[in-house]
Amino acid sequence: MQVAVIVFPGSNCDRDAAVALERALGKKPLMLWHADTELPKLDLVVLPGGFSYGDYLRTGAMAAHSPIMREVVARAAKGMKVLGICNGFQVLCESQLLPGILLRNRSLKFVCRSVTLRVENNNNDFTRQYQQGQELSLPVAHGDGCYFAEPDTLKQIEDRGQVAFRYIDNPNGASRDIAGIFNEKGNVLGMMPHPERAAETLHGSTDGVALFASVVKALA
């Protein structure tokens, strides 16, 4: 099994993601630079949190058009798994691997604290080791996390079970309290909260561990 974390200029959660993945995998993931144009054979790509390209234009917009993302989009269409966390979620929306977009938080404030989420769909390779309806405590740290999509799109993603996680206490004004969504096929997950920052006891929560364990097990 081959797993990679993509590093954009401005990524800052890439190493945390790599550590969490290494624990689940038993080996280090590859770290790939955004300017790479060829991907090795991969089963899972993680787009980490951070401020890629300084959030210029719109969060995730520049990264979505970086050379490596063309290849990620093509591979995702063939079923490769992709996990986007925080800025990674923004990149997935901007590259249209996921519907909708992340807007500025309704409060206009950067929110940096632990939030409680509910697992809305555990019938997916990323969430199988959670219980349906389980409540998780994961940290968020973002200024642009307010999920927005047209009403028709929202209805569609709800009807198809694409909502992965919902906030219990919505920190950013996201439509329908959405914290994370799958694509229609279920091989792409984007989420604002940080599972890699809740991956060991010293983090204060280990609720993120099951996410990495789920996807690694599914790929084994």
Binding site: R58, A61, I101, L103, L108, F148
Partner: protein, 79 residues
């Protein structure tokens, strides 16, 4: 040739920044300020000299990168 791309949030998309600015204007004593919306303007220089072709080019750029049409509308004009 120089072009200008004006990008605005679509009707109905919440603009908390505009709301905050409207509130601040009220605090400064400006009366009767209604809805305030914030957009952005991008000026582009292109080699193309035909204005219709240049406009088409800028429109393609806006569709692909400059605007996100889930939430934004744009307008291209030749300067």
């Amino acid at each position: 040739m120089k072009l200008r791309v004006d990008i605005m949030l679509k009707e109905g998309v919440l603009d908390p920044q505009g709301k905050a600015i409207g509130h601040a204007l009220g605090t400064l004593g400006f009366k009767g300020v209604g809805e305030v919306r914030v957009g952005k303007t991008i000026e582009l220089e292109v080699a193309e000299t035909d204005s219709a072709k240049a406009t088409a080019q800028a429109k393609a750029m806006a569709e692909k990168l400059l605007a996100n049409q889930v939430i934004e509308d744009f307008r291209v004009s030749v300067i």
